[in-house]
Every structure is written in C-alpha cells, then in structure tokens.
Amino acid sequence: MTREIHFWTIDKYKQEEQWLNDLAAQGKALIKQDFGVRYRFEPCEKGEWQYKILFTDNLPNTVEAQDFESFLAENGIEQVGRFHRWAYFRKKNDGTPFELYNTKKDEYNEMSKVLNMATVLRTLMIFDWVLMFALGVFEGFVGHLPVILLVTVVTVFIYNVHKNLKGQVELLKRDADLFE
C-alpha cells in the first residue's frame, strides 16, 4: 500500500477523476481518500476499477449521506473517500462506462452546486481584500503589507478557480438545453 499527498483544486475535480481512472488502468487502485488530499493506493489488476468523484448534496455522517451511500452499495458502487460534500466512489469495471447520472441536466446541476460554493468563497475573499486594503489606507500600508499581499494572492487564485468552474458550467448548460 502506498500513501501519497496530492492537491487538486475544486475546478479540477473532473481531471482528478480522470487521473484516478488512469492510475487504475495502470494497476494502481485508490482504496481510501482522506481530508481531500491524502490518497492510499493498492496494486490491482490493470483496469479492474472505475472511479467517480461526486459533489453530493449532503455533508458526511448525515442520515441522507448514509442513505445515498447504502443505495449505491446495493448497486455495486463502493465509497472509498469522503471529504466535506465530496465523495469518491469506485465500481468493478464491467466494460460499461461508470456514470452516476444519465442526463446532462443532472451533471449541470451538480457542477452548479460546486460553482455556488466557489462564488461564496470568492465573495468572502473579495470582501476580505477590501477590508485589508481599507485598514492599510487608515493605518499605513507598511505593517499590513504581508497580509495584504497574502490576501491578494489567495483572492486572485480563488477568482481564477471560480472563472474556470463558470466556463465548465456554461458548457454543460448548453448541452443540458439540447439533450436530456
């Protein structure tokens, strides 16, 4: 078993999912995911497992989350990780694509929820940045400079994450308007 630390931002969760599937295709299967960054892998037959990452409606350990997990378990889908509303699932590769949703609208709804979370984060960071800047104006920038710089970097970073997500959601919306 190997333990690894990886960081994926919330706008890249589809890429993260592809990465896990690529690893499984090479014979390295995720067996546990903790705190959103710690991954535990085990050797497997090449292509034995398929993975899916989902932004769920509920926080872990709620009745709703457990109900959803057991419903998926009845259908041969195992939960291997849970962090906040993010859930990591896998199923044995039976030659069919691993999908948790049938419709573009479902996919659009899921990613819209991720975008909503990013919007809240972005708003908080902008508010924080304005607050820091105002303090700098009133109390002199020198003392506040490190904090202002740090908040600026984080705000720009989150702004870009939000922008990426928004682009993906708009593409999905176009599909959702055309197809079921």
Binding site: L54, F68, F71, L72, E74, N75, G76, I77, T96, E99, L100, Y101, N102, T103, D106, E180
Partner: protein, 104 residues
C-alpha cells in the same frame, strides 16, 4: 399537488414508473430498464436515487418492505399510474404524428 402533471417526463422517470408496476428494488429497476430497452438505457445509480426520492415526495411511488430487509423496494401508487397513463397518451400522440410526416 401529487397529480400536478404539465410537462413531459424524463426518459428515466418514465421507465422507472413503468418498472414499478411491479414491486422492485433499485437494482431490479436498473436491470428491468436495461432489458426493456435492449441495453440502450442503463440507469445511473445517482439519477435513479434522485428520481426515487422525488417520486416518493410526489406520492407517485411508495416504499414497501421487501423480502430482503436490507434493500428498500418500491411500487407505483394510483396517482403514479394516472401520470403514467397520461404520459403514454402523450408519447403515442408524438409517435403517431411523426409517422404521419415521415415514412417509416
């Protein structure tokens, strides 16, 4: 208003309701829909889960105790059947009109 019906059902919901004319659990619904559509439509578990919860809330299906207590089973209610009949009428109209315009 459990019988409020003014929009086409999604394909998934239509086939779930149709399957539940017989008592079934989630996995049974997936298998039944796959058989009915000759493998064309494989219901994804997330879509099925969301649809079942919405249909329960609308009162179009109800949960019943199955043979295996670990798995919940579901069955169509009278109001669900009413919706299904209306949808079949609508789909028949769509198909009949299509055939009038296109030689098949």
């Amino acid at each position: 208003m459990p019988n409020n019906y003014d929009a086409p059902l999604t394909e998934a919901v239509y086939y779930i309701l149709l399957s539940l004319t017989k008592q079934m659990h989630g996995y049974g619904i997936i298998q039944n829909v796959k058989t009915l559509t000759n493998g064309r439509l494989v219901l994804a578990a997330g879509t099925l889960y969301g649809a079942i919860n919405n249909l329960l809330a609308k009162g179009w299906i109800s949960a019943v105790d199955g043979d295996d207590s670990r798995k919940k089973e579901y069955i169509l209610t009278d109001s669900g059947k009413e919706i299904l009949v209306k949808e079949i009428t609508r789909l028949t109209e769509l198909a009949d009109n299509g055939k009038k315009y296109i030689d098949m």
